[in-house]
Amino acid sequence: MIWEAIIEPFLQFGFMRRALLGCIAIAVGATPVGVFLMLRRMSLTGDAMAHAILPGAAVGFLISGLSLGAMTIGGLVAGIVVAIASGMVSRLTTLKEDASLAAFYLISLALGVLIVSTRGSNVDLVHVLFGTVLALDNAALILLCSIASLSVFIVSIIFRPLVLECADPQFLRSVSKLSAVTHFTFLALVVMNLVAGFHALGTLMAVGIMILPAAAGRFWTSSIGGLMVISAATAVLSSVSGLLLSYHYSLPSGPSIILVAGILYGLSVIFGPAGGLVVQNLPRRHYKQ
């Protein structure tokens, strides 16, 4: 029974195994980035970046069809241009980062929609929007795994400056020139992981696997390392459960995965020991001093 429900779909179907591998790669690569996005109160930035990537990917798609390379490069270029441009505006002028980012991603989105509409709409574009996790080919899997590995590697290298840039940017600027480098490297990581995510989950759902597990993790631990482990585990669990749900009930897989992550988030909000609703409203024993 359990075997049939949980193990067999993966044993029987190659596309399920591929989907699982792709999702695990995304989970491992994107969640550490998501943890930092959340800690920097930039969760919505992730969303904005995802919107900024969409037109780039669409342009890549229009130029050379459903090509992995063209869409990846298009998405990366659009995302990085928006990240750098908005970062420059916020660092060089009085406009805050959120406002400048909103400005740039809206411009980018409008531009993308305009380009797409001049070439006529295409049904295949739905793949870009909502992903094709059940149709990942070898090249796509290699890309996802490479991006995940590179992302984990870079996060481990810039970990200390990144923590400092999040906790006390003023101090980092006063002792080191790494502040701007760290910031833009981090934004590049966000873009990279979103681009990886959209191949499987679509541009709109890719942010979900980044942010929801991190937000859920915050209710279980307050250490950064713990957050990364818990959120990665949450993301993997969501991927497996989401894929199985979509298999058994013929649901679209991307939204299923994100919804499971959403349910885990909801449970964490209620039952999480680190500031969850139940704990906060229970009378607790505490130290006398």
Partner: protein, 244 residues
């Protein structure tokens, strides 16, 4: 140690400090006083290099910007960030350890000593979000201790801090002074200044007085400083900026 030459600082063409000339001596312990809006914080920002002068310059003698430690008035630290006291304090070793270096046993001992020096022993592993205002300020002082800077700049370090914490942190400042470090602190409490700071720099958008504290903190100087900072007493005049 530090020269201000014809220093004009400001934001968006509105100068906060005008044509300031002064010299901070090696190893001096100087209070920077003046009314609100006198340009005290602006002056410290110019020393750290965060703010570029509109005119004139700040020159360092025998030290570089890397030897300066700065405690801002309102730090941008995110107090909800999940980081412990010991991690926050250890950031002070950044210049020695850098982005990738390991904390060796000596470093760890120094972190422990710094935490002890500010009286936070026992709270090392507490999250910074759970500290009181005074405890948090103590932690920031411990971080300054580890920065081992030749010039320490403090912007209103004792605002919203109780008297016992203030006394403890003043002791830290006196230790710095004893070790020959140069300290500049923006302060509002006149008694604290008189009792603890041998030198005073009084500014009110321009230099009012600079020298031994008792000669600077006079009723006449305070009145002059207040008058200079009154708003609307004179129409803004264009002050030509010569490119530095």
């Amino acid at each position: 140690m530090l020269h201000f030459e014809n220093l004009t600082l400001g934001y968006d063409r509105h100068p906060a400090v005008h044509h300031l000339g002064a010299q901070i001596k090696d190893g001096s312990l100087t209070a920077v006083v003046g009314p609100n809006g006198a340009g005290k914080s602006t002056l410290l920002k110019a020393i750290t290099g965060v703010l570029s002068p509109m005119e004139g310059r700040v020159t360092f003698e025998k030290i570089s910007r890397n030897d300066v430690a700065y405690l801002p008035q309102q730090s941008e630290i995110d107090r909800t960030f999940p980081i412990s006291v010991v991690d926050l304090v250890a950031m002070g070793l950044w210049r020695e350890v850098g982005a990738f270096g390991r904390l060796n046993r000596k470093h760890k001992a120094r972190v422990k000593d710094a935490i002890e020096a500010v009286g936070l022993t026992g709270l090392e592993n507490r999250a910074i979000g759970s500290l009181s205002g005074g405890q948090f300020q103590r932690a920031l002082f411990a971080r300054l201790l580890l920065q081992d800077a030749k010039l320490v700049l403090l912007d209103e370090p004792f605002s919203a801090i109780d008297s016992r914490t203030t006394a403890d942190l003043l002791r830290v400042i006196h230790d710095w002074h004893g070790e020959g470090r140069t300290v500049m602190a923006v302060l509002h409490d006149h008694d604290t200044v008189r009792e603890n700071f041998p030198e005073t720099l009084m500014i009110a958008r321009e230099l009012v007085a600079h020298g031994p504290t008792l000669q600077v903190m006079t009723r006449a100087n305070h009145a002059a400083a207040r008058a200079l900072c009154e708003i609307g007493t004179e129409p803004p005049q264009i002050c030509e900026v010569r490119s530095a």
